[in-house]
């Protein structure tokens, strides 16, 4: 089932399906490429930003950025 990264409850490991939208280029360049695994680590006090682990490092994403990332839940 495909979902937006911003909708995933945590902690979860998901696989990136697609990256779209205005920030897509930079997200891709940061290694958030389709097929890569993302671990959702935690949410900040008001729900966002979101902390994720990708390619062995940690990133903070605001909701608008997490909305750009479509993921598939790993079962």
């Amino acid at each position: 089932m495909d979902k937006l990264l911003s909708e995933i409850s945590l902690p979860k490991i998901v696989t990136i399906r697609n990256v779209t939208g205005i920030d897509a280029t930079r997200l891709l360049e940061m290694g958030i490429t389709p097929g890569t695994e993302i671990e959702i680590i935690r949410r900040a006090p008001l729900g966002f930003p979101l902390e994720i682990k990708v390619r062995g490092y940690f990133l903070s994403l605001r909701k608008s950025e997490a909305d750009c990332i479509e993921v598939r839940l790993d079962e």
């Binding site: 990256v19 897509a24 290694g31 900040a44 006090p45 008001l46 729900g47 902390e51 390619r55």
Partner: protein
């Protein structure tokens, strides 16, 4: 052996320890200044290797050559040699974080396309070790076909190895496009180069691949900095190139990135191994606490409290010593030289002005020491993560919290601290609203007016009206700052909005040499750059308050000895004339000409208001007893109306004016330095003063009804 003097550029992702390597290479032989016309800092130094002096440029940290921000663009432009303020580098040191090879090598593969000799510097190998990652340096060098040097924070030998690598024969430029773009992408790229870049633009040849790929990915000329002749032709070529990729089922925006990451994947598969698997690193364990939903904000509040304790209390003794030194030094000078105008200029203009600059140093040093320690450990990014949700609600950024809070001590270090905000728009808004935070220089003014005019009526048994007014003024400043930030967010064009993706680097011990060196640099930058402006304005203010010189016979004739000579001089100076001149303008706010003088002189520093009022009111009482300034203010009577000059409405109006107006030349000077333009300090002065006038007007008119 290489005996030529080289220009060496350091390039790398943010948080790769690039600056540590820069410091290790250059030591104290470095210079820091702004790039012309913009806010990005330029760090240049020199290093001696084998008796040859080389120039070293520390380029702004960037994740990609496809720039999204002005500092990334400077890194790119410098590398391709089209940045007019910088020399073309002969050698590029690509600094990468070994614990995060994939993403770091992305930039490396881009730089390798520029046909410049490079050395790959594997930094932070100790962090990689801790994470159980083993890297085969030789395998990387063989795959990428470039020289590779490994460096760790724990041993210094890496820097020597790096130096000897530089000293060897200049490595030849790597072969571009090592990452092997797919066929469609290659075809599209060649098309853009042959039909657009070569015939129509003046972009240097070494940049043609990267520029073609950038145009294909963006699909338009966003922020192009080079000259081109016919944009329409360019657009057609780019559309055609993107069409080639789409026909092959590719995505013009993503294909380059995916091809590069495929290549990087192959490279790291050969050269890097996760030998041990750690379930939880120290970073994970610390983060579970400091970024916790409830504990996180509390811990951050404690950290802030500790920092402010430092700027407020610990800095005070140093500030007192500086104050004493300048006052005593001034007194000594004034005695040592014959009295006269030159003496006055030296003591009251220059020395007082210099004292007014140096006095800020302790707070700046303390604040930046803590900021650099917290940045060095990696905690600052966590603080921003925890606060970002709250701050975006009011139009600011998680990183705005520390600068804004510092503003309660003093706007100067706060505005300097705003440089930790990467996003330019968030940074400028933070700077523009920061002076609304009730800084400590407002305290003496508030204290005087509240003590004189606000009754100490008790409220709810515990509080007094005076205390509540004090608190109210702080809250008022914060609310206005939030309001102003929200308005500015609407006004300022977002333009090409930089994506807001923040890395949370792993925790490490701060590098003390970096902390001390950077802290000292901030102090030096303040003294040398903002200091010039502050001293110049001090001299002008001194001139206004001291000229034209009074005639001593006029003084004896007019004053009947009831007024001190200082007061008489001030009343008849340009400042006094200014006060009377603007009286009609400030009358609707409830101010008279005496306050008018204070508004001018307090531009030197807000607390000077108290001193100025003291001088003006230093009329000796007929019975020879001196009453306090507070009593004089209460008893001052308007000679025309016979009513008291100060009502509660006047006092409140004046406090509101002080809360909102841009009454501080040092703030103006530091905003000029930090934004590198007179545009922002001018705008700040105008909008804050206008807002102050409006609010004081409303307050006084309502209060007098």
């Amino acid at each position: 052996m290489n005996l030529d003097s080289l220009t060496i550029a350091l390039v790398g992702n943010p948080n790769t320890g690039k600056t540590t390597i820069f410091n290790a290479l250059t030591g104290l032989r470095q210079k820091i200044a702004n790039y012309p016309g913009i806010t990005v800092e330029r760090k240049v130094g020199s290093t001696i290797i084998g008796g040859v002096l080389h120039k070293v440029i520390d380029l702004p940290g960037t994740y990609s050559l496809n720039y999204k921000k002005i500092d990334e663009r400077i890194a790119y432009e410098t590398l391709i040699g089209s940045y007019e303020h910088e020399e073309i580098p002969d050698l590029v040191l690509i600094v990468v974080d070994s614990s995060n090879l994939d993403r770091n090598l992305y930039l490396a593969t881009q730089v390798m396309d520029l046909s410049i000799p490079v050395i790959l510097v594997l930094n932070m190998t100790d962090v990689a070790d801790d994470r159980g990652i083993t890297i085969n340096t030789k395998a990387i060098a063989e795959t990428l076909e470039i020289p590779v040097v490994a460096i760790s924070a724990k041993n210094k030998s890496g820097v020597d190895a790096l130096k000897s690598e530089v000293q060897k024969v200049i490595p030849k430029a790597p072969q571009p496009l090592k990452w092997a773009p797919n066929e469609a992408l290659h075809e599209a790229m060649t098309l853009v180069i042959d039909e657009w870049i070569k015939p129509y633009t003046d972009i240097p040849e070494r940049a043609q691949y990267i520029e073609a790929l950038r145009l294909i990915s963006e699909g338009e000329f966003i922020g192009a900095f080079y000259k081109f002749d016919d944009a329409d032709i360019g657009k057609k070529v780019i559309t055609k190139a993107r069409g080639i990729i789409e026909q092959n089922g590719g995505n013009p925006m993503a294909d380059e990135v995916l091809c590069r990451y495929n290549f990087i994947g192959e490279c790291t598969a050969k050269s890097s191994q996760q030998t041990k698997q750690f379930k939880k690193t120290i970073t994970d364990r610390i983060d579970a606490v400091v970024t916790h939903k409830i504990a996180g904000p509390i811990i951050f509040a404690l950290v802030l409290l500790f920092m402010f304790q430092a700027i407020f209390s610990w800095a005070t003794p140093f500030m007192d010593i500086i104050d004493l030194l300048f006052v005593e030094g001034g007194a000594w000078l004034s005695e040592a030289f014959p009295p006269g105008m030159l003496n006055d200029l030296l003591v009251e203009g220059v020395i007082a002005g210099l004292g007014g600059v140096v006095i800020f140093l302790p707070q700046i040093i303390f604040l930046f020491f803590f900021i650099y320690v917290l940045e060095g450990t990696g905690y600052m990014a966590r603080a921003a993560f925890v606060m970002d949700g709250f701050m975006t609600k009011v139009g600011l950024h998680g990183r705005s919290v520390v600068p804004l809070m510092s503003g309660f001590a003093c706007a100067i270090p706060g505005i300097m601290a705003a440089r930790t905000i990467e996003n330019w728009r968030d940074r400028i808004i933070t700077i523009m609203v920061l002076p609304f935070m009730a800084c400590s220089a407002r305290l003496p003014v508030y204290a005087l007016l509240i003590a004189a005019f606000i009754p100490s009526t008790s409220v709810l048994g515990v509080f007094t009206l005076q205390g509540i007014t004090f608190f109210g003024l702080y809250i008022f400043g914060i609310l206005i700052a939030i309001f102003a930030a929200a308005v500015m967010k609407k006004i300022f064009p977002s333009g090409q909005q930089a994506p807001f993706i923040m890395e949370l680097p792993s925790y490490k011990m701060p590098k003390w040499s970096v902390v001390f060196q950077n802290t000292a640099e901030r102090g030096k930058v303040f003294i040398t750059e903002a200091g010039k402006i502050i001293v110049a304005i001090s001299i002008v203010l001194w001139f206004f308050a001291s000229f034209p010189k009074i005639d001593i016979t006029d003084y004896t004739a007019e004053s009947n000895n009831s007024e001190t000579i200082e007061s008489y001089q001030l009343r008849n100076s340009f400042a006094g004339q200014f006060g009377k001149f603007i009286e009609p303008v400030i009358e609707p706010l409830g101010f008279d000409w005496k306050i008018g003088i204070g508004l001018l002189t307090s531009f030197a520093a807000r607390e000077v208001m108290v001193g100025t009022l003291n001088t003006i009111y230093s009329i000796q009482e007929s019975d020879g007893e001196n009453s306090t300034l507070k009593e004089k203010l209460i008893n001052d009577v308007n000679p025309e109306t016979g009513k008291p000059v100060y009502s509660i409405a006047t006092a409140i109006s004046l406090m509101i004016f002080f809360a909102l107006a841009m009454q501080c030349m040092s703030t103006i000077a530091i905003v000029k330095r930090e934004t590198n333009s007179w545009k922002w300090p001018t705008a700040m002065f105008l909008y804050m003063t206008a807002l102050a006038y409006l609010c004081s007007f409303i307050a006084f008119q309502l209060g007098s009804m």
